[in-house]
Amino acid sequence: MVGIVIVSHSQKLAEGVVEIAKMMADNIPIAAAGGMEDGSLGTSYDKIYDAIDSVYSDDGVIILVDMGSAAMTAEMVMEDMSGRQNIQMLDCPLVEGAILAAVELSDGHTLETLVERIEDSRVMLKF
């Protein structure tokens, strides 16, 4: 099953997004990588690396990020994991994207299908 990693500058935000996503699908491998090692705001290479490690399988992993250094640091982790296939960072709204991904992936859909569908999360109206 494709795994999901949520990267944020905030540990609480990443864990909160994971919590919400699990409400939709509690059988998916999903990990939070938010904040620095000491819990302060920022992006941690090691946390991202460990999170991907924890949910990785041959089916792949998708990475969702909040902004800026979350994307850049995740990109560097991915470069260092170039031996592994199917790790992809997706550009989408963090909460809506995580929920959509959780629903799609728990249905057993592939990473490729999700990549096509993730654009839907951009236009989901909040109200």
């Binding site: 992006t43 941690s44 250094s69 560097m76």
Partner: protein, 210 residues
């Protein structure tokens, strides 16, 4: 000629400079960012200082790569991946070298800038560190090509970087956290361009020492 010993001295001096300017850099970032540039970079370079003794006897490429990987894993903000990639790409260009000619420095500096552009997906004119680094590179390269002594070419580079920092006050940010501020980012000096200037200034000061 810059040897490995000089490179290590420059890195130590940069670490000291960044620590000294931590509050000012943070203040700049408070005005148009999330207020952590100085704090983050100081943390990163403190860990670089701690790592340097284990790197000091290696070739220049290994030293620069070591600095880069340390920055990526400790800075915590955008300057981590950006400066980290810059030092790593420069390190790749200096692989196995124990001395750099002026031309080799220029190649490494250009590789560093290429790394920043690739990682940050920015170009000049977006109010970033590139607005100090790119003019600095052009001035240094022009000086070297004109046959100037390397230190004189580097001095030209520092002047160009300083002008670049002033230039950032006149443009709106289209990259990074400051881009959320749009017009409100005008008249503010970019923190990343400023820290880049400090690094170049420090390199010049170390090389000017007799």
């Amino acid at each position: 000629m810059i040897n490995a010993e000089k490179v290590v001295a420059i890195i130590y001096a940069i670490a000291e400079r960044i620590k000294a300017e931590k509050d000012f850099l943070t203040q700049l970032d408070n005005e148009i960012g999330d207020g952590d540039h100085g704090i983050n970079l100081a943390r990163g370079f403190k860990s670089v200082e701690e790592k340097l003794p284990s790197l000091a006897d290696k070739d220049i490429g290994a030293i620069l790569k070591g600095v880069g990987t340390q920055l990526v894993s400790t800075v915590g903000g955008a300057s981590g991946p950006l400066y980290g990639t810059a030092f790593m790409k420069a390190g790749n260009a200096c692989k196995g070298k124990t001395e750099l000619t002026a031309e080799e420095f220029a190649v490494a500096f250009n590789a560093a800038i290429g790394g920043v552009k690739m990682r940050g997906k920015a170009v000049e004119g977006e109010k970033t560190m590139l607005d100090a680094l790119c003019p600095a590179y052009k001035a240094i390269k022009a000086g070297i090509d004109a046959g100037k002594d390397f230190v004189d070419a580097l001095a030209d580079g520092v002047n160009a970087a300083a002008a670049g920092v002033e230039y950032t006050k006149t443009i709106i940010a289209t990259k990074g956290r400051a881009s959320y501020l749009k017009e409100r980012s005008l008249s503010h000096q970019d923190p990343g361009a400023t820290s880049s200037l400090y690094m170049l200034q420090t390199m010049l000061e170390v090389l000017q020492r007799r």
